[in-house]
């Protein structure tokens, strides 16, 4: 389910509907294969919490809301997110293991591969329950983008311009495309016009970019404790070495830290495995790269809100605004 701090921002009726989506996806991941029955719900729960479902439902509420119709699209979006999460973890874990895969891990990998595929198939089956070719096409396009995103590597942290271009292309594919697809699916099912669908897709895309930037910031600063006052929460755990830095993954805070004076020495750390250097580099990125990365996220959320402002004021719009601001607060 949604993070507690976000739940507090949303009305009970919406939380009930999100709970309905949660129940659908949990029911779907039952399978006659015992391993899917066991690992499926665990992996589904691990993919982060139904934010995309909330966006899809609220997008539909901007038009005429019919939970019976939109719940399938919202479930499909969550299943796609879970599939992508599982497959991404798979690639990621292979990297962490630095080439050595033991017997147990191999079995786990086969299982994770198949369960990811299973989730993708469930998402297609879910869309068939309230078939709308637009929804299917938004979602399948998002999956293609996610795959393309998985194949884009940000090759170097400098020079800044190409590094930023690669980074934004990657997170656009990897994260923002599915946010956009959920929003478009929701408002399409809510009876929105082509122009409204397009505009809300832009909202979702910008919000998705901001969400991913915040995620990448939190990899350096540590996750805030999940309390009702997330705004005031101090980070629960500030990592000595950023996970992304350890794995040699170049994200926005590093790109900005290099440009803000970290220089070539900092950029070169990406290729090392030396603990002292990685620790130094992590704190340098915290010192130099977080503020400008947060400014980008801020700008993108403002852009997202501007797209939203084109819709008439409503409770749903207000809640979409609250979610947008919440995305930023996570990195506060």
């Amino acid at each position: 389910m949604l993070q507690q701090a976000l739940q507090q921002l949303l009305p009970p009726a919406l939380l009930d509907d999100i709970q309905r989506v949660e129940a659908i996806v949990m029911e779907r991941v039952q399978s006659r294969a015992p391993i899917v029955k066991i690992a499926g719900p665990q992996l589904l729960a691990a993919s982060d919490g139904r934010l995309r479902a909330a966006l899809t439902l609220l997008a539909a509420q901007l038009g005429s809301y019919d939970l019976q119709r939109v719940q399938h699209a919202a479930s499909a979006v969550e299943l796609i997110n879970a599939a992508a999460f599982v497959h991404h973890e798979l690639v990621d874990e292979a990297e962490r293991r630095r080439g050595i895969v033991d017997m147990d891990a191999r079995w786990d990998h086969g299982v994770a591969l198949m369960i990811g595929d299973y989730f993708f198939a469930l998402s297609a089956g879910e869309m068939a329950l309230a078939p709308d070719p637009r929804v299917i096409s938004y979602c399948s396009q998002a999956v293609m983008n996610i795959c393309e995103g998985g194949l884009i590597t940000v090759m170097q942290a400098a020079p800044q311009a190409p590094a930023l271009e690669q980074y934004y292309e990657k997170i656009g594919c990897k994260t923002a495309a599915l946010f956009a697809a959920g929003c478009k699916a929701g408002i399409a099912l809510g009876g929105g016009s082509e122009a409204e669908i397009e505009r809300l897709g832009q909202f979702g895309y910008d919000l998705g970019l901001a969400f991913q930037i915040v995620d990448d910031i939190l990899d350096y600063t540590g996750e805030p404790a999940d309390t009702a006052q997330a705004e005031a929460a101090t980070p629960a755990h500030v990592p000595a070495i950023s996970g992304d830095m350890q794995r040699g993954v170049i994200t926005l805070p590093l790109i900005y830290a290099v440009a803000q004076g970290g220089g070539a020495e900092l950029a070169a750390v990406v290729d090392t495995q030396d603990t002292a250097q990685l620790t130094w580099a992590t704190s340098e990125v915290r010192r130099l790269g977080i503020a400008p990365a947060r400014a980008d996220a801020q700008r993108l959320v403002e852009q997202a809100l501007a797209h939203l402002a084109a819709f008439p004021a409503s409770a749903a719009r207000q809640q979409l605004e609250a979610i947008s601001r919440f995305v930023l607060q996570r990195a506060g």
Copy 2:
């Protein structure tokens, strides 16, 4: 494209339509990710050749045929097959490498994982082009079955009854389900009744089982040369050690060979890596297990033809019969 020997059995008009499907899927695998652009068509070509598309098109021809509608379903089935093929190869290769994955292979694995996902997404997008909830639901159910099949391992070659049960459940999920889905999708789009859809699904399922058994036989006997006279062809290459046996994969010929007198000694070879023993076991399976496995395939094709006999005689029915007999001849 289809094997040459099969092409000779089918009319030019059908081959043109299969070519149309081939052109669609090749066009679809274009992507802005350069690696997908390069590897996508290669991997698509490597998945075996458009037999499922032929079945889907012919199934539609049993009713009222509209290529514009059915071409998307046929393309979706081929894309699913390609996706499953790529992901299956991935699990398989990991096993072959016995736990050691080098840097290059790791990169290849990430690419193969993403390209498989990309193919799945393309199949969903393809179905959205001529949306029919039944087609989407047949296909997504088949993908779930394929995943379940990937998670079933035939644990032991004896005793015969549970070994056969596991084997048939595995190949039913892994191979037969998609044959069935293609047939059901085709005749559904051709305007068939529920009973006809069900019956043609049974035809596809039995034919799929036979197809997989023949594949498993060929792993021991070697692929026949692909000539116009496949019936007369001598095997191009008889393997000293069966690939399945080398990897410890238990298939029908081994199960029958153990039951036909090979005994516990033969069953135990599955766990060895000793070349002499594997060579001996391969030849024992050829001596004892091929004939009964082929008898199963024969029986299943007859069952498939019996389902087909319920449909009025037509050119399409004749061609489905020809394909069914061809499936057997591959193991002749």
